[in-house]
Symmetry: C2
Subunit: 227 residues, 2 copies
DNA sequence: CTTAATTGCGTAAATTTTACGCAATGTTTT
DNA sequence: AAAACATTGCGTAAAATTTACGCAATTAAG
């Protein structure tokens, strides 16, 4: 017990809700806890913050250590401070969500079990992680109106249908294919590679990519993504 | 130094950006610091979290103690964790913004100086509070698209022009008076009191009030406020 | 008494959203 | 092999919404 203070200090952790898209549904990556408390239950990767790192650095480190992932997009969305969150001591957690391509390899250094779960099939989680998940989804849905975060969940090249399925999965709605198509092309965020891909046993489909330059221009002029 | 831990713990504080509306401009409430560090500089009310209170409870307590205010609307928007935020020790702050009516009496228990500053006339602040302020404004602007938080900044009864000035101040844009009027009435969030008020040396104007029931109904059906 | 502000409506034009139509291509079924 | 079905790439007309103003009434100021 070498670290002493004049006043009580809570412990501070970060937790990271990792979203991935499997082509139809939104998934979250969970880690099976190997130690008490909540041993055997599923939880988000996360852990105690170190004195020489910021919260975001901590979240990225835990993501790497526990899930073996490097996330391109990461966003802090809420800090949870309920008194009895953790039975061991007062723990305040700064929560992030990350968007990754589901195809990426998953697996932690310490061989902890990591697994993707579709959003509508998530088991009961450890701590207050159920509440954290609900809020993460709400924030993701909110954020998608201001930034084209959907693109972070897709591979560099994707078809229009994939993109539509993604937005439908995140927002929980259905779009008319042709209207979605028109709207997306008008927005000017898409680059056409000119290439096509043969869909699984179906016909040819154009491949698009997210055009970050156009996006930055749009952002300068001020805009809002509507879906 | 009676509080000892096996691992180092950062200190945790809350800070509260308090917005008020003076009829033309958006203002923030600042407290002049009476002690080092940054003695004499202006800062947001805030302080260390206690072990028996949540972050929001802490923020409300500090608001009461340092500014003498009870805020109806309060929202956590970001947690700041840069390493050198505070010269004394590692301090992580959970930041909130509050919306209050500027008319409310201002003054802390400990006779600390509290003062309203228009957003475009804010002095250099203590700690990293400049950055916190910028982010608070950004969040307020974002949030106003999803919730009618503007009403929290006005008295229970207000004229259409007051409401328009408020939205213009928050979003930094100009609206056509007649279009704003039409849009607001169509939204159905307003209750008409039937009363009128004589504007300062001008003519009569209707008084409206925010109708929370209509708002809750709207929210159920899913909606978005557009301005 | 004229000018300038400010308030309460209303309305036509411009723009955006929504609802479908249709041909082409390839898979699956009969 | 033919028919039925699914999927993709366009378009386009109707519906709804947003935007740009018009206009009269009232009051203060010059």
């Amino acid at each position: 017990m070498n670290y002493c203070y004049q006043y009580p200090h809570p412990a501070v952790t970060t937790d990271c809700v990792i979203f991935g898209f499997d082509g139809t549904r939104l998934n979250v990556l969970l880690i099976e806890r190997g130690i008490e408390p909540y041993k055997g239950r599923w939880a988000f990767p996360g852990g105690f913050i170190r004195m020489e790192e910021t919260a975001e650095e901590c979240a990225r480190r835990e993501l790497r250590e526990e899930a073996g992932l490097e996330a391109a997009y990461m966003r802090q969305f809420h800090t949870f401070s309920t008194l009895d969150r953790d039975p061991r001591e007062r723990v305040i957690t700064i929560a992030y969500y990350a968007l990754v391509q589901l195809s990426e390899v998953v697996g932690g250094d310490d061989a902890a079990r990591a697994q993707w779960f579709p959003l509508d099939d998530v088991p009961r989680l450890a701590f207050d992680h159920d509440a954290i998940l609900r809020q993460a989804i709400a924030e993701l849905r909110r954020q998608i109106h201001f930034e084209p975060i959907g693109f972070e969940l897709l591979p560099p090249q994707f078809t229009m249908t994939q993109l539509q399925r993604l937005y439908e999965a995140v927002l929980g709605v259905k779009f008319d294919r042709r209207n979605f198509y028109n709207k997306m092309r008008h927005l000017g965020l898409l680059g056409e590679s000119g290439e096509t891909v043969t869909m699984p046993n179906r016909r040819e489909a154009f491949l698009y990519s997210f055009n970050r330059e156009s996006y930055d221009e749009l952002k300068e002029r001020g805009f809002r993504l509507e879906f």
